[in-house]
């Protein structure tokens, strides 16, 4: 009996996206190497949350994740407030007309990442600096700093902008001059399945429930604004949150530690090259205003896996540019439109002009109509489909 050789894939970057891709590829008849150049911080406790739509949750489940394993917290309703209203009167409420379905699920990023890691026992983890990536026509060869080399049918890059591989790529790119701060508040126990978002002058503030007593806060603020001063001061932050949440939370305290992210928009002009795919935030980084970033990535992963599975069964080399182009065709246009819509939403909410504000109120009332709301929810759930 001859030796059967599997095709090999290298996933560059062992963050959440890299790990999720590695997990998704496990079911296929290929060897997966997960390559990390930097050492991750040890025992790093993070409060970062992700919003995962119902459709995305199903993708995760289809990739072998059990829902109860990563403590996803369901959202039934999202309430939007245009500015700071004294009586906390909502401007729009989003809820699913079909009561059995949830709008979205809030997940702690590190809990999810740990659960995915547990699934990766069969994946070869390589922690080495990469010197260069070579190979035209034949397989791609990764040359590590210790001069060892490995050959791959396909390289899926989720990080490593330091590599020449990515730095030559053109992208749409701008800086929001905003920073997102995230932390957790502790409040009196209640049935906590409703997210709230306030569109404030200096940026949006979101309440994302993670249990009946804790809620994750994502507060995006203009750099050097008054709001940023409040966020950065523990007392001021706590007082502000107590004030703004009157009527729905009795805030007891908030975590001292803040995690921060610079907010930028980035969209890569092309996502595939010969034997290379770029995936995750490096291809489309969007504003967290609608909590859609990782949903886009999960949808991409799902599309890629179904294409690869079909092509493997038909004997193709999975690094074949024709196959990768098929993936790009199925993802890029809808992702661009989706990313631009998110950008537009963020711009619309940032503007303080009375005309835009009026328009905002108007669109809120349109959005509240059941048919429109259903469409918006469906869009947020499954992304754009043509």
């Amino acid at each position: 009996m001859k030796n059967l050789i599997k095709q090999k894939v290298a996933v560059l970057g062992s963050g959440l996206t890299g790990k999720a891709i590695a997990m998704a590829l496990l079911d296929l008849n290929i060897d997966v190497d997960l390559i990390e150049q930097t050492s991750p911080p040890k025992n790093f406790k993070s409060n970062v949350t992700l919003s995962i739509s119902d459709a995305s949750l199903k993708i995760l489940q289809s990739l072998g994740m059990k829902k109860n394993k990563f403590n996803s917290w369901p959202l039934q309703k999202i309430i939007l407030f245009d500015g700071l209203t004294k009586e906390a009167k909502p401007d729009t409420e989003f809820y699913n007309i079909d009561n059995k379905k949830f709008l979205s699920h809030i997940v702690k990023r590190n809990v999810l990442e740990k659960e995915i890691s547990n699934k990766l026992k069969k994946v070869k983890f390589i922690k080495k600096k990469i010197l260069s990536i070579e190979g035209k026509g034949f397989l791609k060869k990764i040359i590590f700093q210790n001069k060892k080399t490995s050959e791959y049918n396909l390289i899926i890059a989720t990080q490593f902008s330091n590599l020449k591989l990515l730095s030559n790529e053109k992208k749409l790119n701008w800086d929001y001059s905003e920073t997102a701060y995230t932390f957790v508040i502790h409040h009196k126990k209640l049935t906590n399945n409703c997210a709230r978002q306030f569109f404030l002058k200096d940026g949006p503030l979101a309440f994302l429930p993670i249990s009946n007593t804790h809620t994750s806060i994502v507060w995006s603020v203009k750099n050097k604004s008054d709001a940023e001063k409040i966020v950065l001061n523990y007392e001021a932050r706590l007082n502000f949150l107590k004030m703004i949440s009157v009527g729905f939370y009795e805030v007891i305290g908030c975590t001292n530690k803040l995690e921060k992210f610079d907010l930028t928009f980035a969209f890569l002009r092309r996502t595939v090259l010969s034997r290379v795919i770029f995936m995750g935030d490096i291809t489309h980084k969007i504003h967290p205003i609608a909590g859609q970033g990782w949903n886009m990535t999960l949808r991409d992963i799902n599309i890629l896996v179904s294409i690869l599975k079909e092509k493997l069964n038909k004997g193709y080399d999975i690094g074949d540019l024709g196959i990768l182009k098929e993936y790009e065709k199925k993802t890029k246009a809808s992702n661009l439109l989706f990313a631009m819509s998110i950008d537009l939403i963020r711009k619309a909410f940032r503007s303080q002009s009375p005309a835009i504000s009026k328009l905002r109120k108007k669109s809120f009332s349109i959005a509240s109509q059941p048919t429109v709301m259903n469409k918006i929810i469906d869009l947020a759930d499954k992304g754009l489909r043509f």
């Binding site: 059967l4 050789i5 008849n29 034949f138 397989l139 069964n313 004997g315």
Partner: protein, 242 residues
């Protein structure tokens, strides 16, 4: 009478092109565009003939396959990836060298031999492919006889070529060689094309049972080849040995 199946001029012609085989944008780009249709058809047909489940890993691992006129190995490699034990033979030494280098560089185990079918002794195969070669051989009857002898009992053999009629002259010679420049002028000799019924008649003398004939047609708007029932230009036929 000439009892060798390779025409020397034909062999040289392809040897000159051999190094370009694997460039999807190079001289052989028409073949790269054409290849997926026949590859997927063959895989579907073979898997249903042997009742193989394509969802299984290495679903072809119990099959031996011979690709006659394998060229640079464009069809051998997919079958090797599916786990089949693949032998590729070609009358051109250059082609065989190109195929060997490519298989080795892409981590595949394929046996490539610079041989003609009549030179293969003491070995039989479950699947035999004679794709786009019959129009390049001198003695079609002897070629078919040599190929058929190598087929195992219950095996399946495929022949693909171009029909001989005014339309095929217009499309395969005038269109493909002179107008679109897909192929170098002189690649094909219209007189060597074979009508499907002639093919069935030839092959049926070898105790082989005709299964089906499928056309392959080009859609210029989609710039894509697809499977069809129109065998007026390119077509594929398959036969089984019982």
């Amino acid at each position: 009478m000439n009892k060798k199946t390779a025409n020397e001029q034909e062999v040289k012609k392809f040897s000159d092109m051999a190094s370009e085989w694997w460039d999807p944008n190079g001289k052989f780009s028409p073949l790269h565009k054409f290849n997926p249709v026949r590859q997927e058809y063959l895989i579907d047909r073979i898997s249903s003939h042997f009742s193989l489940n394509l969802d299984k890993n290495f679903s072809f691992s119990n099959l031996t396959l011979l690709d006659i006129g394998c060229g640079g190995g464009l069809l051998c490699e997919p079958f090797a990836r599916l786990g089949a034990q693949v032998t590729g033979i070609d009358a051109s030494k250059n082609n065989i060298e190109v195929a060997k280098v490519h298989a080795q560089k892409t981590n595949l185990q394929i046996q490539y031999l610079n041989k003609l079918p009549e030179e293969i002794k003491n070995k039989k195969f479950d699947v035999i492919l004679c794709m786009e070669v019959i129009e390049h051989v001198d003695n079609v009857n002897f070629f078919i006889e040599s190929c058929s002898k190598l087929l195992n009992k219950n095996g399946i053999i495929f022949f693909a070529t171009i029909n001989r009629n005014p339309k095929s002259y217009l499309f395969a010679i005038v269109g493909a060689e002179y107008v679109l420049r897909w192929l170098p002028i002189g690649t094909h000799d219209w007189k060597k094309f074979v009508k499907p019924q002639e093919m069935i008649n030839y092959v049926s003398t070898q105790q082989l049972i005709h299964q089906e004939t499928k056309g392959v047609t080009f859609n210029p708007i989609l710039n894509k080849w697809s499977l069809s029932n129109d065998a007026s230009v390119n077509y594929m036929t398959c036969f089984t040995k019982s």
